[in-house]
Amino acid sequence: MEKSLLAPGHRACAGCAMPTTVKLVLDAAGPNTIVVSPTSCLEVTTTPFPESAWCVPWIHSLFENAAAVASGVEVMLKRKCKDTNVVVIGGDGSTFDIGMGSNSGMFERGHKILYVCYDNEAYMNTGVQRSGSTPFCAQTTTTPSGSKSLGNPRPKKDMPAIAMAHKVPYVATASVAYPVDLRRKVKAALRVNGPSYIQVNAPCITGWTFDAGTMIEVARLAVETGLWPLAEWVNGELVGVKKVHRAKPVEEYLKSQGRYRHLFKRPEGADILKQIQAMADANIAKYKLAD
């Protein structure tokens, strides 16, 4: 690997998936890249004034406008005939929820921008609150387990489908545990003359509650159970998946994290586990992961 374009000394938690993800994205994109980030763990941990971990030009504006800001950068670069990559790297809170408007506009206008969402499945920067990306029955501080609640009652929003509905030419899901796959997908996305969207599973120690050293293992289990299929779509057509022969039962993945602990303690949890297994099975069938 070339010297990392994300310098050490940033304030991310020990074992955080996000800086690993960013390192890999930047390694694939190269130094001729401008990065735009929304308010997020990423932004806060990498740019405490007067320091910055970014070795490429980087701009942060607000929580919900990264895609719009990136659009402005892209338009000006095009005007100056520069072929610099424009990459948004943001969390799921911004991508799935508050930034939806901005994202929709950017996708729809067809800017040549790669949007990478590092998905830790909640608003982590503000202390682990539920986002549109939080999976079914995961606990967060705003969807805790209690006598009236089994955690987040809603399924995860399908952002890749939303991107494809905008006719985004290249869409992919990736994982921090599969670095070669992630780098390849970033390179493929940057070759597209239009918008692209890559959603990267990025486990969060603080929010999901697991031993920091197992961060990659947790991400791997999400893929190996079928809960996080690694897929690639070009012009809306599925062109590739990572096969999962003999998928592991979802329990292995769910047991590895504290945010699902309640499902193993409460009697109602058994039924939920079945439902989550059904979701994994549905993915395996839909994406033909086992064939």
Binding site: M1, S4, L6, A7, P8, G9, H10, R11, A12, A14, G15, C16, A17, M18, P19, T20, K23, L24, T46, T47, P48, F49, P50, E51, S52, A53, W54, C55, V56, P57, V176, P179, D211, A212, G213, T214, M215, I216, E217
Partner: protein
């Protein structure tokens, strides 16, 4: 520190903050077991594992190796070495090493 209007900040400047002070456990690499697969370097969230020649004493000292440790390193090899100035002791490298060549040791400070 100079306040530049508009909050412009110089690149790569977090390097002045030595996050190595955060850790409780320090990774110790068994270089004989190491097969140079690169996975520790790829997965490290700090990006602070480096490929270093065993002859590059300056770099090894900079990364936190003591002189007697350097003397006992394999000669004439490329080594994968954590930069102890920044290593937060997360142990992802130890978990992911396919040869279990990295051990997390309670650090005496």
């Amino acid at each position: 520190m100079e306040i530049k209007a508009g909050k412009l900040v110089d690149p790569c400047s977090t390097q002045i903050t030595k996050t190595g002070a955060w850790r409780t456990f320090v990774p110790v690499v068994d270089h004989k077991e190491c097969i140079k697969c690169n996975l520790c370097e790829i997965f490290c969230p700090e990006g602070c594992i480096h490929q270093v020649s065993s002859k590059d004493v300056d770099a090894l000292l900079k990364y936190g190796y003591k002189p007697d440790q350097i003397r006992s390193l394999p000669k004439d090899e490329i080594l994968f070495v954590p930069d102890l100035n920044y290593c937060k002791g997360c142990s992802v490298c130890a978990h992911e090493c396919p040869r279990k060549a990295i051990e997390m040791v309670l650090e005496e400070k």
